[in-house]
């Protein structure tokens, strides 16, 4: 009987070890907002990670150092709050032993967990726009999306030169974020020879902008800037500006808000509106990704998603190049070494040395689009230096 037990135990142990040898798992974390406001962005990040994982899993797994790894996504909701993000991140790092994370999403969560990710050498792919999200000190923090302080200068320069606008007006929310955007925008316009002649602030709950817009239009502006306003507010501003008879160009330098502007203001009011567009929707690669994403998730694609998809693909390539899925130092070095990496966004590189003393910012082309007949048409392709 004892002999039988020994044989049984031995064979069970062998079975377990041979199973784990054949089914290695690579856990990829997703730390994003998956409920409430900001869910669209969180969905974009989670979807990107899942689609990239699906790509490698459909080929039997990611081959690294002669072993195949099945990629498993572990997603946690940060509720767009720093405290919740930190709790979830600690769980990822200490309970799930995750070394690669898509996220965090917001600036406050990013700043809260940067010390933990740095100390534990966890590579993060953040959407945080704050300039503090990247630095030589936080060497594992990468950012695949292009923040406004990278794209606003070349875009504003192009718009001012193309439109010949000299007198600019704008309304901004009366909080820290609105004040900062207002000041940055004013400086960017003045740097290229235009003047911000009317800058007004309002409480975020305001929906009737007509008195303030009347005041702004009285200054005889050539163009109106929408940056710093939430997508819905941007739509209301366009609608009310046109109601007041303003026919001049309206410019959206900030994040993607095209869908809301069109929805709120309608087709006619959105003629002569120039918007920042992170992706080229005419590109076949983007169209294919959009179709795949929308078929799987039954929701419109958020333009940030392809950036995370590209970043995860780069992380996988770096793991293969460095031959490890556990040594994040080696993976980081390999990731930084990727040049002209082909993605759905086109060829991408890492930049940021001049601004953040470290190349952890993805460099991908971005676009200026003109709204025409209720659709966005790309009119310029941009790099951090110039729009053409």
């Amino acid at each position: 009987m004892r002999g039988f037990l020994k044989v049984a135990l031995l064979s069970t142990a062998c079975a377990v070890s041979s199973y784990s040898a054949s089914a290695q798992t690579l856990k990829l974390g997703v730390l994003a907002t998956l409920s409430g406001a900001g869910t669209a962005w969180g969905m974009a990040m989670q979807g990107a990670a899942e689609l990239a994982a699906e790509d490698v899993n459909s080929k039997g797994g990611l081959e690294v150092g002669g072993k195949k790894y099945k990629v498993e996504i572990v997603a946690y909701d940060d509720h767009y709050k720093a405290a919740d993000a930190l709790t979830a991140f600690n769980r990822m790092v200490f309970d799930d032993s995750i070394k690669f994370v898509v996220g965090p999403l917001g600036s406050a969560p990013a700043l809260a967990l940067l010390p933990v990710s740095t100390e534990n050498k966890v590579i993060t792919m953040t959407m945080a726009f704050t300039p503090k999200a990247l630095s030589a000190e936080y060497k594992y923090s990468f950012r695949p999306v292009i923040p406004s302080d990278v794209f606003s200068d070349p875009q504003i320069k192009w718009v001012v030169q193309k439109l010949g606008a000299r007198k600019i007006g704008g309304l901004f929310p009366n909080d820290e974020s609105g004040q900062q955007v207002g000041a940055a925008n004013e400086a960017a316009y003045e740097a290229v020879g235009a003047k911000f002649v009317a800058k007004e602030f309002f409480e975020r709950e305001r929906v009737d902008f007509v008195p303030l817009l009347t005041r702004v239009l009285a200054k005889g502006i050539d163009a109106f800037e929408l940056n710093g306003n939430a997508p819905q507010t941007a739509g209301l501003l366009v609608k009310q500006l046109r109601e007041l008879g303003f026919k001049g160009p309206i410019i959206r330098t900030g994040g993607d808000a095209t869908a809301d502007i069109l929805k709120v203001a309608g087709k006619d009011a959105t003629e002569n509106v120039y918007v920042h567009q992170p992706i080229n929707t005419d590109s076949p690669a983007i169209q294919e990704y959009t179709k795949r994403f929308e078929t799987k998730y039954k929701t419109p694609l958020n333009a940030f998603s392809p950036f995370f998809y590209a970043n995860v693909q780069m992380a996988f390539a770096a793991m293969q190049k460095s031959g490890t899925v556990t040594d994040s130092d080696k993976v980081r070095e390999a990731l930084l070494g990727l040049k002209d990496f082909e993605t759905v966004l086109g060829k991408v590189n890492w930049i940021g040395e001049a601004q953040w003393k470290s190349n952890q910012q993805l460099d991908a082309p971005f676009y200026v689009a003109l709204l025409k007949g209720g659709a966005a048409q790309v009119v310029a392709k941009c790099t951090p230096k110039v729009c053409e």
Partner: protein, 289 residues
């Protein structure tokens, strides 16, 4: 921009927001005058009216006038039910009644967030284009709000002055006990007055939906403004609510156009304090004996 155009624009905008404040404040003051209840949930009925207008107009694609009628009827009936079940038990206790309306407000707002989500929804314009008179151009969407508000108020005023029910309501507002002695059934008047009050708020919400947008939080600002208006015009006074509403709309529009949003908010409230110092009962209110 020409100074006269600036002035005309400020007048038009003042009339639009003044009309909304008027409709909100008339209903608010009606309930206080008759029931002595400060309805903190008044803004939520405005929001429900806006959503009713939105869903009926966008999904059913029926004429906007019918949408307004549906909003007034459904929200009015809902208001009557709310009064009957949740406010009537506290009729003899004003403080508890106010706390009950506060609770109703939180329940309705959070319920709306759960049902429809927090994000604002854009409602298409009921009319497009502008009315051009010389150098002035006025958007039809805003002119319609002013005309509709004037019509709604006229209908309400005629109801209060010319019908038996309206007279009964005014009698209850003046003296409940005497009204009871005269055979007026106060238990029917209270829910009816509450229903009419919130139906007016719902109409204001449905009218403003296309001009601004619709979300579970749209009732907050009109509610706060209705408070200011009834204090300005005199608590319980319907003419006071009309004068106060239009006055506040004009002050808001002119100060925001001339001085900007932040100074406008300060000036509005300073003016209210000033009026209360000079006339503590409000512009058309009467001192309580």
């Amino acid at each position: 921009m020409d100074y006269s155009i600036l002035l005309a624009q400020a007048v038009l905008n003042g009339l639009v927001i003044g009309a909304m404040y008027m409709l909100m404040a008339v209903g608010f003051t009606l309930v206080f005058g008759i029931m002595r209840v400060v309805n903190f949930a008044h803004g939520e009925f405005y929001m429900l009216g806006a959503f009713t207008g939105f869903f009926t107009y966008v999904y059913w694609e029926i004429p906007f006038v019918v949408c307004l009628l549906i909003a007034a009827l459904t929200i009015g009936i809902l208001g009557m039910l709310v009064e009957r079940t949740l406010i009537q038990p506290f009729r003899s206790d004003e403080m508890s009644g106010m706390i009950a309306t506060l609770a109703i407000s939180v329940i309705i707002q959070n319920g709306a967030v759960l049902l429809w989500g927090p994000q604002p929804r854009a409602m298409p314009d009921i009319v497009t284009g502008t009315l051009a008179i010389g150098p002035f151009s006025f958007p039809w969407s805003r002119l319609v709000v002013i005309a509709a508000a004037a019509l709604i108020f006229t209908a309400f005023w005629l109801f209060m002055q010319r019908t038996r029910l309206g007279r009964a309501m005014r009698a209850v507002a003046q003296d409940t006990e005497t009204a009871l002695i005269q055979g007026i059934r106060v238990n029917y008047i209270y829910p009816l007055a509450f229903g009419m009050s919130v139906a007016l708020a719902a109409l204001a919400g449905a009218l403003m939906g296309p001009v601004f947008s619709v979300s579970p939080f749209v009732g907050l600002t009109p509610m706060l403004k209705a408070f200011v208006v009834v204090i300005l015009g005199g608590l319980g006074s319907v003419p006071g609510a009309v004068v106060g509403g239009l006055l506040l709309g004009m002050i808001e529009s002119f100060t925001a156009t001339i001085f900007g949003s932040l100074v406008s908010d300060i000036l509005q409230l300073l003016l209210v304090i000033l009026i209360l110092l000079v006339r503590p009962a409000g512009l058309l209110g009467q001192r309580e004996a």
